[in-house]
């Protein structure tokens, strides 16, 4: 373990961009966990007499049309957005890695059929799928998570399939068979752990996407509902006031979104360097 930490330290020192991304990610997660305690105001209680105030010492990011403190709402929204993104990505990662690994290992007819299904799935725009799901199952956050997970699934399936496919004839895979493991055990215990470093990169990039997706869906009014603080809704509500010069309603949630996506994207490459044992000596 200490060698992993030392290696991580080495990667971060040699790569300030990754260090920045890691710090940003850490900050986001900390905010998500601590939001209720560090928010200076209640993110939901409205105070109309204080509406549409520009950023000031009392309200760092200004107030919205109902007089709510935007900074507090931003903090509270971090938790919801990260939860949605993490849940969606975990779902699609677990399902995609297992399905893709088996396709890559078994090949043949299974591989061809799953491949075509994935193609069909990739042709669906996220918003259409989400609307269909919401229409069928109801406008709930869970369904938004499922929609996002399904949309991301093809990437994981293809990725895992390709990574396993190049390794399936490796000597150590045959050795595992000779060592008494069944095909399923070889896939789950030998091949999956070996493709994890590469997939971790994908996960990190995907988290950024998933956050954007979640925000995009609530921007359209799907999933998360109005007084709940959420970056997408905040942008949607604030958009009405751009024309009259109240820019802070949109700018701050937009910046938060950008920072989150940027951090996760930059973290991807750094993660790969940290997780790949061959990079360690």
């Amino acid at each position: 373990m200490s060698s992993t930490l030392r290696h991580a330290g080495w990667v971060l020192r040699g790569n300030p961009v990754t260090a920045f991304a890691a710090a940003g990610t850490f900050l986001l997660v900390a905010v998500a966990v601590l939001a209720p305690w560090i928010a200076p105001y209640d993110p939901i209680t409205s105070n109309v007499s204080n509406a549409l105030k520009p950023p000031s010492a009392a309200h760092w990011a200004g107030t919205d049309q109902l007089g709510r403190d935007i900074f507090s709402r931003l903090l509270a929204a971090t938790r919801l957005d990260l939860t949605i993104a993490a849940a969606a990505v975990s779902l699609s990662f677990v399902a995609g890695a297992v399905i893709g690994s088996f396709c890559g290992y078994v090949g043949g007819r299974l591989d061809r059929w799953v491949g075509r299904l994935v193609d069909v799935l990739m042709a669906f725009p996220l918003f259409v799928l989400a609307m269909a799901l919401v229409a069928a199952l109801g406008n709930r956050v869970e369904n938004i998570i499922i929609a996002t997970a399904i949309i991301n699934l093809p990437f994981y399936i293809r990725f895992a399939r390709a990574e396993v496919n190049v390794r399936r004839h490796a000597g150590w895979v045959e050795a595992a068979r000779a060592g008494g493991d069944s095909h399923a055990a070889v896939v789950l215990r030998f091949l999956l752990p070996n493709i994890l470093p590469a997939m971790a990169v994908q996960i990190s990039l995907n988290l950024g996407w998933a956050i954007l997706n979640a925000a995009g869906l609530s921007f359209l009014g799907l999933g998360v509902q109005a007084p709940t603080p959420e970056w997408g809704i905040m942008v949607a509500e604030g958009a009405r006031f751009i024309g009259t010069g109240q820019w802070w309603l949109v700018a701050f949630p937009g910046l938060a979104l950008m920072l989150a996506v940027l951090c996760f994207n930059l973290l991807g490459d750094g993660l790969r360097d940290i997780l790949d044992p061959r990079m360690r000596t």
Binding site: A170, G171, W172, E174, A175, A176, R177, A178, G179, G180, D181, S182, H183, F190, P193, N194, P277, R278, R280, T281
Partner: protein
């Protein structure tokens, strides 16, 4: 004496890496005269390739030449400008690389690639360049050169690709040709034709040849002078006859001793007193052979990769399976290990029909433990995310099912110890181990479950010759001490002869010849066996030096 064509003086090459500066070449002097042939011999990491790359300035960016001079026809080209080097490379100094398939451009026809090589240095009309390229293809004996002019590299065999590479290197009649392991990865008969061709063409054109190789036999057969390198330094230089007849440096002696010849035994390779041959284990009357394979067939599509092959292997016996690539020997070893299913035939292990158990279910069979395999590439056969301990422990956990962690640990350490693997290496990951250590882990893993039959699929093909010697010795000891039966698969007849009492020669999925190792070597019956024996590059070191 005339000025040498190439003179390398006190060359140092270092690489800056994460771990600091690594000195790959530490003061090398080399001289080659016009028309001379020089072999640079050494094991991996000896700096032999780096030396050659330094001459052509094809070194990696992280490389530096802190001191030393490279003189080509008397000119110092050590730090020549890239435009000067571009005009030299190909025209005056050419290289033939190790893996022809990756050195050729996969999306360009072979004829075009040769034309490119000519056009890089000569301004000639297209038709003339084309005619010259065709001539070159014919010179390297590409059959139907005109018809294959537009063929892509993947349509040609490895040997053919290497001939195209040679044609490219010859395109502008360079005066120096550097061949970096030109036949590694090729079959032994292909190796012979490629090397014969290379030697003939360079001699005809009075080119100097630098052959970089790990194979002493190849160096002895094709070069007049030899330089032996170890850890970035030249340890010995001499004419071929002198060097192999009377090696001076201890490292050279070790290397010469470790190279298998027609007469050497496993003990010779590591410089030990010879022991009597392994005593055959008497077969009980009426007891079935340990392995009895009959009429094995494996088809891939319409092609029979293995066509009705029958093998018998007794207890404690060692059977060699020899053949070139595509002979089906690896497929047979996997069928016998029950890793792939056969399409037809019968497979009996100790009288029990194991062929009827599908390969996918064989992992649960009690016989799984009895048949183990050691793979070709020790690096590729270890899970990169497992430590050496985990690699060896995995089959023990699955197949022996030890009572507790202490028993597991004891078994793993015992297996490692029998393979000469120090205990403190067990915590390391494969990438932290050397090739020989990885090979030991692979063998320890196979014997940890106490199998009765060990299938060895080219266990030393990826190893340096001195490491190969030690690994062969280890395998021989294991067999003597534990009464294991070996199915030894290899392309190297010398190695198989030392390790096995009987040999089966295969070609294109069928058995060509079968017989006792001694007879097969002294009186081969099949023409193909003779051809194989003939193609082995060898030298005859004086036997006196062993004693």
């Amino acid at each position: 004496m005339t000025e040498p064509l190439l003179k390398v003086e006190n060359l140092h090459v270092s690489f800056s890496t994460r771990g600091g500066i690594v000195e790959a070449v530490r003061g090398v002097d080399i001289e080659v005269a016009q028309g001379g042939t020089l072999a640079i011999v050494g094991e991996s990491g000896s700096g032999k390739s780096v030396t050659a790359y330094a001459v052509t300035q094809l070194l990696d960016r992280s490389a530096r030449i802190p001191s030393g001079r490279i003189l080509f026809r008397g000119d110092d080209i050590t730090r020549a400008s890239s435009s000067r080097m571009n005009s030299l490379r190909g025209a005056a100094i050419s290289m033939v690389f190790q893996s022809p398939r990756t050195a050729l451009n996969p999306i360009r026809g072979i004829g075009r690639q040769i034309m490119d090589a000519i056009e890089a240095h000569q301004n000639l009309p297209k038709a003339q360049v084309r005619a010259r390229a065709l001539e070159l293809l014919e010179a390297v004996r590409i059959r139907d050169a005109a018809g294959r002019f537009d063929a892509y590299p993947e349509e040609l065999s490895g040997g053919m690709c290497q001939r195209v590479m040679i044609a490219m290197a010859m395109a502008c009649n360079p005066s120096l040709l550097i061949a970096d392991e030109p036949t590694t990865g090729l079959d032994v008969t292909t190796q012979k034709t490629v090397m014969d061709l290379l030697a003939r063409l360079t001699a005809e054109r009075n080119m100097a040849l630098i052959l970089i190789t790990h194979d002493l036999g190849l160096a002895a057969r094709y070069c007049r002078d030899v330089v032996v390198m170890q850890e970035g330094k030249v340890v010995e230089r001499a004419s071929t006859a002198e060097l192999f007849g009377n090696p001076q440096h201890p490292y050279t002696r070790k290397l010469v001793a470790a190279s298998p010849t027609f007469e050497s035994t496993v003990d010779d390779l590591v410089g030990e007193a010879p022991r009597p041959p392994a005593p055959a284990i008497a077969r009980e009357r009426g007891a079935p052979p340990l392995l009895d394979a009959e009429g094995l067939v494996k088809r891939f599509g319409d092609v029979a990769a293995v066509d009705r092959v029958s093998l018998k292997l007794g207890r404690g016996e060692s059977l060699g399976l020899v053949g070139e690539s595509g002979s089906g020997k690896s497929t047979i070893s996997r069928m016998i290990c029950r890793l792939v299913d056969h399409d037809d035939g019968r497979l009996l292990f100790d009288g029990e029909d194991i062929g009827s158990i599908p390969a996918r279910d064989f992992h649960a069979s009690p016989r799984r433990r009895d048949i183990q395999i050691v793979f070709q590439d020790p690096h590729d056969s270890l899970n990169p995310r497992f430590s050496a301990f985990d690699c060896i422990a995995h089959p023990v956990k699955r197949l022996v099912k030890p009572q507790d962690a202490a028993e597991l640990k004891r078994r793993v350490e015992e297996a490692a110890e029998r393979c000469g693997l120090p205990r403190d290496l067990l915590g390391r990951f494969p990438h932290q181990l050397s090739g020989g250590q990885k090979a030991r882990v692979g063998i320890a893993r196979a014997i940890a479950v106490e199998p009765r039959l060990l299938v060895l699929d080219e266990p030393t093909a990826a190893l340096d010759v001195s490491v190969q010697a030690v690994v062969l010795k280890l395998l021989d000891d294991l067999r003597r001490d534990e009464g294991l039966s070996f199915l030894f698969v290899s392309h190297d007849l010398n190695v198989v002869r030392m390790m096995c009492e009987r040999i089966v020669v295969m070609r294109q999925g069928t058995v060509v010849e079968e017989g006792a190792s001694k007879d097969l070597f002294t009186a081969p019956r099949a023409a193909y066996t003779r051809e194989l024996l003939d193609a082995i590059p060898h030298f005859e070191p004086q036997r006196a030096l062993a004693g």
